[in-house]
């Protein structure tokens, strides 16, 4: 750096230099730097998450035997209930297959559930993302649906080698087709209404004019396979109040999302079974 520059001149020169370099640099260099720097820090996030798991493990070790026995009994009850549900689901699936063959209908898409731990939550006013501990090597791809025990959680936004970034349904950039339970007409859903110290929410638009909220409750919004990302039937949120939209033809309303969205620790990525089969063939 020439000595005739003052420190102010030097700082301005260096600032302008990086600005010019960044504006002139080709996109692939920017993309490469982004990927490289992400992969550089990803092990740190994962390691922190493993430390939390270890902390939980030592917490569980502190529990008394009586507590463990009670938890074991609860688990056995749940397992019995789920075994029955699985048998029921198998019978329904067989019946569905039989009807599809009989009426020569195209079969519904089948999914494999890849369960992943949440490593990091970045939920602020500008974006709402989660980083999960599974990535490209686990078969995850951009755009795949992500669900959790209480319904839809979002869509995979970025995939890295061992991690992936999920855009939540509360994110302003999340938009999807949904429908009201029991009504197959599509409704447009968009996230992005996230008050501080409150529950996350989104907006439902293009609700048909004849839809009414029951006096003693709310309407449940469920995912729709129309968008090509989510299968039918996963809970998105609840509509407590609707009003006539700006166009006067449709209604709109604020969708109350599950508060568990902000504290979720485990999610499942829906990987289409067709993708799994093609991967196995390649192997």
């Amino acid at each position: 750096m020439p000595r005739r520059f003052s420190h102010q001149g030097k700082s301005l020169l260096l600032g302008v230099l990086i600005l010019i370099f960044w504006l002139a640099a080709p996109t692939f260099i920017k993309q490469f730097s982004r990927v490289t720097f992400y992969e550089f820090q990803a092990p740190a996030w994962t390691a922190l998450n493993y430390l939390h798991d270890l902390q939980d493990y030592w917490n569980y070790r502190q529990r008394s035997k009586n507590e463990l026995i009670e938890a074991g009994i609860d688990m056995a009850r749940l397992q019995a209930a789920y075994s029955l549900r699985i048998q029921e689901a198998d019978a329904i699936r067989e019946e569905l297959g039989r009807l599809e063959r009989f009426f020569e209908l195209p079969s519904l898409p089948d999914y494999h559930y890849e369960v992943a731990r949440v490593v990091r939550r970045d939920l602020n006013n500008w974006w709402q993302t989660l980083t999960i501990r599974k990535g490209r090597i686990h078969g995850i791809e951009t755009g795949q649906a992500v669900v959790y025990s209480r319904g839809v959680i979002g869509r995979v936004r970025e995939v890295h080698t061992y991690t992936a970034v999920v855009e939540l349904i509360s994110s302003p950039r999340f938009r999807s087709a949904v429908h009201i339970e029991g009504d197959l007409r599509p409704v447009e859903y968009q996230g992005g209404v996230n008050p501080g110290l409150g529950t996350p929410s989104g907006m439902a638009r293009t609700i048909p004019a004849d839809v009414r909220i029951p006096e003693d409750g709310s309407l449940r919004l469920i995912s729709s396979r129309l968008g090509g990302v989510f299968p039918d039937g996963f809970v998105v949120g609840h509509l407590d109040r609707i009003q006539v939209g700006e166009d006067g033809l449709f209604q709109e309303g604020r969708v109350r999302l599950d508060p568990g969205l902000n504290t979720v620790r485990e999610v499942a990525v829906l990987i289409p079974a067709s993708q799994r089969r093609s991967e196995r063939v390649q192997e």
Binding site: Q8, K10, L12, G15, N125, V193
Partner: protein
């Protein structure tokens, strides 16, 4: 330890701050709150380090921050470099030995950065009250945190450098 190695070790303070911020945000997510402490990543580099050392550290940290956020590519690098440039440009006017000056610099620059983010990442929500309510809550929390920790944060790094044999006070006197 050479001067360059000591300057590089300051990078680890910034990395530690990034991890701390992520951990705090993980915990605050349950209450629908979030912290943004970006100014602390450039404050020490701008106020106390040599210009080239600070520049390299801010670029590296900026690229790390940029990689982890769903913003347009390079937005965070450019923003952090601009914040750093402002700090360096006015560092003769800022009394670095005065906590009030350091805190005031950090809080005012962070406010500018938060406003910039809020206006550029609004996705058509700039007219909604809820959007600004969240901005006030998150921004207020971040600014309080910065006001409380900006001075200790700089002091820790200054003490560390002094301990490793680099007296920044003496160097600043010479500039």
């Amino acid at each position: 330890m050479s001067t360059h190695s000591r300057a590089v070790s300051i990078l680890f303070f910034a990395l530690g701050l990034l991890v701390l911020q992520a951990e705090l945000n993980n915990w605050l997510a349950g209450m629908s709150l979030a912290l943004n402490l970006d100014i602390l990543l450039v404050l020490f580099c701008g106020l106390y380090l040599r210009i080239l050392h600070g520049w390299w550290i801010v670029i590296f940290v900026g690229l790390l921050v940029d990689a982890g956020r769903p913003t347009p590519i390079g937005m965070n690098v450019i923003a952090l470099i601009l914040l750093w440039t402002l700090v360096v440009y006015y560092r003769r006017q800022i009394h670095r030995e005065s906590p009030t000056h350091v805190i005031w610099t950090a809080v005012s620059l962070q406010t500018v950065w938060l406003l910039t983010l809020t206006l550029t990442m609004s996705y058509g929500r700039a007219g909604e009250w809820i959007y600004w309510q969240r901005f006030l809550l998150d921004g207020g929390l971040s600014l309080v945190f910065i006001a409380l920790f900006a001075w200790p944060w700089c002091e820790i790094q200054r003490v560390y450098l002094k301990w490793s044999g680099w007296d920044l006070n003496a160097e600043i006197q010479r500039i």
